[in-house]
Symmetry: C2
Subunit: 132 residues, 2 copies
DNA sequence: ATAAAACCTATTGACGTAATAGGTAAATAG
DNA sequence: CTATTTACCTATTACGTCAATAGGTTTTAT
């Protein structure tokens, strides 16, 4: 199961892509539109900034905005940033130590296949595909 | 991330498929071969029995055995039994109450697409495919 | 100066996971 | 008929993560 953080982050990104009338969009507006607590969105926005996905501006008329056009974001990179990994099993995580059973593991290959399928799906999908 | 319960269950099923010399295979043997605590395997075996996947026999020469041939089990049904659901988001769970945002949700369709991909993959794959 | 916004640190309740523990019941071999 | 081997049963627990809340400080435009 994907966490709310990942799912909400995606909705924040979509919301930012759909509301470009003002340079910066305040969290208050997103919170209202998306019906998500503003406080929780602060945590999510912070991580999106840290990950280079969005840019924030303090003060009056501040808020957040995308740093690229929606077609230049893949859904996969947004989710992966929030979830840490989208690997189906720990053995396949980026810096996982080689499992001692890997050589004779009957399931490893299947997990790899699935992981590839998953990555193809989410990295092939663009933020712009979700904004119609 | 799939839980150890789901992953271990799969390995138990594979182990049972690969060891048919005796009618029933005791958990002790599986625990040794798979390097999983026998106690934990008891919990897993219990759920597999309850789900109609395997059959147990008490007493000397007891143990567990498959109730079908390996090609008659899909990987999906085994995982789903142990995990409860393999839906990527709560909205898509079997008895989920309709989300109030469903009509205007920009992401729901993507989750549905992914869920279908996932189910096609895991229900298309058979236990026998993992036993080579 | 004031208001609106991001930005920052900390904390918390609830829940699920991954086991462990200690027994009882059933079946077989000797 | 006794010992042994196995499944079967009920509880409990440590731990981590998730999802969120709380209460402040700093920045910036008007």
């Amino acid at each position: 199961m994907f966490t709310t953080k990942g799912r909400y982050a995606l909705r924040v990104m979509i919301d930012l892509a759909q509301h470009t009338e003002n340079e910066y969009i305040p969290l208050k507006d997103i919170a209202t539109r998306q019906d998500i607590s503003k406080k929780y969105l602060e945590i999510i926005a912070k991580e999106l900034v840290k990950g280079g996905m969005i840019e924030g501006a303090s003060g009056k008329h501040g808020g957040y905005k995308l740093v690229r056009t929606p077609d230049e974001y893949s859904v996969g990179e947004i989710i992966e940033l929030m979830e840490g990994t989208i690997a189906p099993v720990a053995c396949l995580e980026a810096n996982a130590k080689e499992c001692s059973r890997a050589g004779k593991c009957n399931t490893l290959n299947m997990w790899k296949e699935f992981y590839e399928l998953e990555r193809d799906f989410f990295f092939g999908k663009k933020l712009s595909d979700l904004c119609s």
